[in-house]
């Protein structure tokens, strides 16, 4: 090969790469006007499950989705902050969050568009915004995961583990995701001082903190810890893999917890934590019609059933044919009836997050 041929190759390869890149970018670029053929979706739900739902939406409607996913370890909060940062020139049309309070935060900041569509109508009141800024669907629950080789899956066992051997218990860092929602509920029910004391005490006595709920599942399944706090979808991953784990719902009460709820003598009111996915349309979107179609689609019975039958076994919130529900999910539906109403907990979340930042980032 001659000199000029070598130099030509060295120039041509990057030029070709730049052309490929430019054409790929142009091909996914949403139209500048009110083109309803493409939507930009920020999605905090697990990609494995969300991708299939969004592909189905494309097949049904012809509206192509450009999704931006977050990582498991930092679920939802990253995308919420990105949406807030981009508020002056939003690039996201629809936000599919995997929890509720982040969506309430966006609503409070005036970033969401109202829409009371068909799906909003079918979802129970406590899982949707009264004015239609967002709507919940397909929930999961906070649960205790227990290694059945190491401990019995009962509230008494968990109680003594927390009291005597917190180093055998694992939890995700509460800065993000559903663990943050969990802490928000504790902040709301217990008050800040009690939560701070409980949290610091557990950390001092060796509670294992890991970077996400999936890691909690792993650490319990491989018997490094006896139990942990995680979400139902993570536990089902372990159960499907044949690992020796069991789960039961986390129940929280406002009063000092002398007797676990299973002992039956207690008259206190116990709450479970049922965390729905939520969908909201970003204010200023140029593709409002398509965004509304997607919001309706996500909170539809079809998607709720798809997610209930998926490996994550999400709990349908709206009316659905109960006969078709998998047995695993029927049990979760019962647990979710005791779920706390999360909609009013935004002030608690803000205060709790501000405190957690000082605990972990200062």
């Amino acid at each position: 090969m001659t000199d000029s041929a070598t130099n030509r190759s060295i120039v041509l390869i990057p030029v070709f790469a730049a052309l490929v890149l430019a054409s790929l970018w142009l091909s996914i670029l949403p139209g500048s006007g009110s083109d309803d053929k493409t939507l930009v979706v920020y999605c905090a739900h697990d990609r494995i499950f969300a991708e299939q739902v969004l592909d189905d939406f494309f097949r049904e409607t012809g509206i192509r989705i450009q999704a931006r996913y977050d990582t498991e370890a930092t679920k939802s909060l990253g995308l919420i902050n990105l949406i807030v940062q981009e508020r002056s020139q939003p690039r996201c049309d629809v936000f599919w969050n995997n929890e509720l309070l982040g969506m309430v935060e966006l609503q409070q900041q005036g970033i969401l568009e109202r829409y009371q569509g068909a799906s909003w109508e079918r979802i129970p009141e406590r899982y949707r915004d009264a004015d239609g800024y967002w709507v919940g669907f397909a929930a999961r629950m906070r649960v205790y995961i227990v290694n059945s080789h190491k401990a019995a899956a009962t509230e008494e066992t968990l109680g003594s583990l927390f009291t005597l051997e917190p180093s055998r218990v694992a939890m995700a860092k509460p800065l993000f995701g559903t663990t943050l929602t969990h802490y928000t509920v504790l902040w709301h029910l217990w008050g800040g001082d009690r939560l701070k004391m409980w949290h610091r005490d557990l950390r001092l006595r060796g509670l294992r903190e890991v970077d996400g709920n999936a890691a909690v599942k792993d650490i319990v399944a491989q018997e490094t810890c006896d139990a942990g706090l995680t979400d139902t979808d993570d536990v089902f991953v372990a159960i499907d893999d044949g690992l020796p784990v069991e789960m039961f719902p986390i129940r929280i009460t406002a009063e000092p917890d002398d007797n676990p709820p299973s002992q039956g003598s207690s008259t206190k009111h116990y709450y479970t934590i049922c965390i729905p996915n939520t969908v909201g349309i970003i204010r200023g979107t140029k593709r409002l019609k398509a965004a509304q179609r997607l919001a309706d689609y996500l909170a539809s019975p079809k998607v709720e059933m798809t997610l209930a039958k998926s490996k994550s076994r999400q709990i349908p919130l709206g009316p659905i044919d109960g006969l078709e529900l998998p047995d695993d999910v029927k049990k979760l539906v019962d647990w979710s009836q005791e779920g706390i109403d999360l909609r009013s907990l935004l002030p608690a979340r803000r205060e709790c997050l501000a405190w957690l930042k000082t605990e972990y980032l200062k």
């Binding site: 390869i13 730049a18 490929v20 996914i28 931006r68 930092t74 800065l175």
Partner: protein
Amino acid sequence: MSLASACWWTLARTILVCVVAWPLCVAVERWIRRASDGWRPFIFFLLLAPFLFPELLVGYSYRSLALSSPRLAEALCVGLLLFRVVPVGVITLNASPAALASHSAIHCRWLLWKASQWSLGEAWQMVLCFWHGPIRRALPALGLMSLVAFQEFELAALLQTASWTDWFIAAQRVGLDRREMLIQSAWPVLIQLPLIAGAIYWTVREHDANGEQHDDPAGSGTFDRIAKIYLLLAVICGCLIPLGFLSMNLFSGIKLMVSQRSQLTGLTHEMIIAMAVSVCAAMTAWCLSRSLTSNRKLGALQMFQRSFLLPGLSGSLLLSLATGVLFQQQWLHPFYDTPLPWVLALAIWLLPRAVLVQLWIRATSQTEGLHLSELLAGHAIPGSAIEGANATSPVVPASRASALRFRLRDQPRLLAIALLCYWAYLDLSSAYLLAPSGMSSGLVRLYNFMHFGRTSALSAEATLFFGFPIIAAWLVFLIQRTRSTR
């Protein structure tokens, strides 16, 4: 953990890794220099394999083990970092010219010092001798090794060990104020600044300084044994175990992937994006590095140009965060959701690596051989015309001369560019923070899936993602070589 504590912890780990790695670097480098020409490329291959093996896969393979105890996680992190740091040290040592004071010179000075009466002046001369000898030669290698260890992100994240990089990701996720982030970034920048400045100064200066030959290292059985054991361990722990982990359930994973067409299409699309971005960034960095390593510039201008290496040396994570913030400013916002910030950040990050690779190619290139091959390629000349050749030597065909020239000149360049592309392709921070909507890299997808334990599907996807660019680069290389011999 506060950022300051995380920084000090990372620094302590860096010092530990470098202290342990340095004797290994020396042993391996000496062994390489003594090795025969036939063995040398193979040893380089073994040395570089753990460094080039995707960190994500290494971290993922040891993740379960690391979860069992924080101490074990830290030990694993140190061990695996060692396998990534030693190749950097060896390559830098190998590319750096001989020390101004040879071993014999230091020995003579030592004898002189012992014979004379003790005085401060004599002691200072001894120190100077060491400074111009092994210390000055070690500084660029130690600087670069420290940077690699200090900037480690993916291994620390997957093994869940404390690291300043982890703190920044967490801070970015919870929406720490930009001003606060910039103030806080002073910590790692200040810690790295002496290393960065030293690495640039000494790398460039040592390269410009002289072209003396190295001392021929004396043979040492112990050194050779240490080098061999290290290489064996590094290849097993840094490559073979992760490869074994990857190949578990690979066939069922491939079947699953083929049945999930949308997953396969999505991954292919993301691979094409990642490859296109990598090639653009790598070529930009390569072209810039050529002008930066040119010796024709004036001193001040040269130093100014070389200051462009600073942002790249601060690491991909900080650079990507800063680029993201920069492109959210009003005047750059039109480019925010385009591939430009991603390509730009990657090119800046790759620039110091490109400079290092350029210097290494220059240090190891055979200029006389290259000149001769160019003469031969220009004119088919009889072998007898070559000095020292037999009078009856046959005419050297132009095609063989071209092949020779390809091997001496074009092959190192192509390999260097492929290496830069590969680094860009494997960079998670920039892909995660800067990819525009709908154009994410497959690497982010894999990182996400690693949290779900989908071993079979993940194995197939990772094999495809990491294997495809290697095959593509190999094909390009083969095509170029075939064309060169025509």
